[in-house]
């Protein structure tokens, strides 16, 4: 009984934290937008002259490569989890399969090879174009290593 209470309390706390984070982010973004604080680009338009220093083409090429590798890693992970599921029929593994597949969709929808045919492209992100994907690559490699080696 007490254990269930603790679990509920924990879940409640997590939800409160998430809602608070969302409200704070929305508030912050709205205020910054209305007050036009320099350094925070909310309005989606290129700057005067259209030139952003340090925004090199290489970053976008790097992102195309890294994000494709990440898609491959996630496809392999999903396949490994499916093969484990065939052996174990475990609910835990279903969770892992869903996790890998959703993450795969996330990566596919943000891949430049998918976004550019629709006529959209990233712009002015500089090194931040490829950095998140690079860290994701590290994280996925660790997960894949643990799933295969163990």
């Amino acid at each position: 009984m007490e254990k269930q209470m603790n679990k509920r309390l924990e879940l409640g706390l997590i939800i409160v934290i998430l809602v608070a984070a969302a409200i704070l982010a929305a508030f912050w973004a709205l205020v910054l937008r209305n007050h036009q604080i320099p350094g925070f680009q909310q309005i989606r338009a290129p700057p005067h002259g259209g030139f952003i220093p340090g925004d090199y083409q290489y970053f976008y090429v790097a992102n195309a490569i890294i994000s494709t590798i990440n898609i491959a890693l996630l496809a392999i992970l999903a396949l490994i989890y499916v093969s484990i599921y065939i052996k174990t029929r475990s609910q835990f593994t279903i969770g892992l399969i869903i996790f890998a597949l959703v993450f795969l969709v996330q990566n596919v929808t943000s891949s430049p090879f998918i976004t550019s045919p629709f006529g959209f492209r990233a712009y002015g992100l500089g090194p931040f174009e490829f950095l998140p994907g690079m860290f994701e690559f590290v994280a996925l490699t660790i997960l894949l290593y643990l799933s295969i080696k163990y």
Binding site: I84, I86, K87, T88, R89, S90, F92, T93, I148, Y150
Partner: protein
Amino acid sequence: MSANIRSLKYLLGWLIAGTRGGPTRAKIIKALKETPLNANQLATALKMDYKTMRHHLEVLEKNKIITSIGDRYGATYFLTLTMEENYVMFEEIMKKIGKK
């Protein structure tokens, strides 16, 4: 204590249903629950390669699911106290996992 049990449950989930060697490890845990054995005996009992067996035993030992007595090669393996005390949980996980 309850938090401890929950982490053990999560750990067992990963070690059995989240990694490729999982199903084999479940068999090892079951065998060791019945009687403590050494790596060689386990490999023979489960019809497995000795080296593979050593690898699985190492993983289980590192994760405090089993423990051993004796020198490296002749060591006898058995379940840790925490694992013995919470063996019901392992059985529950195994029940959920359709035998295959």
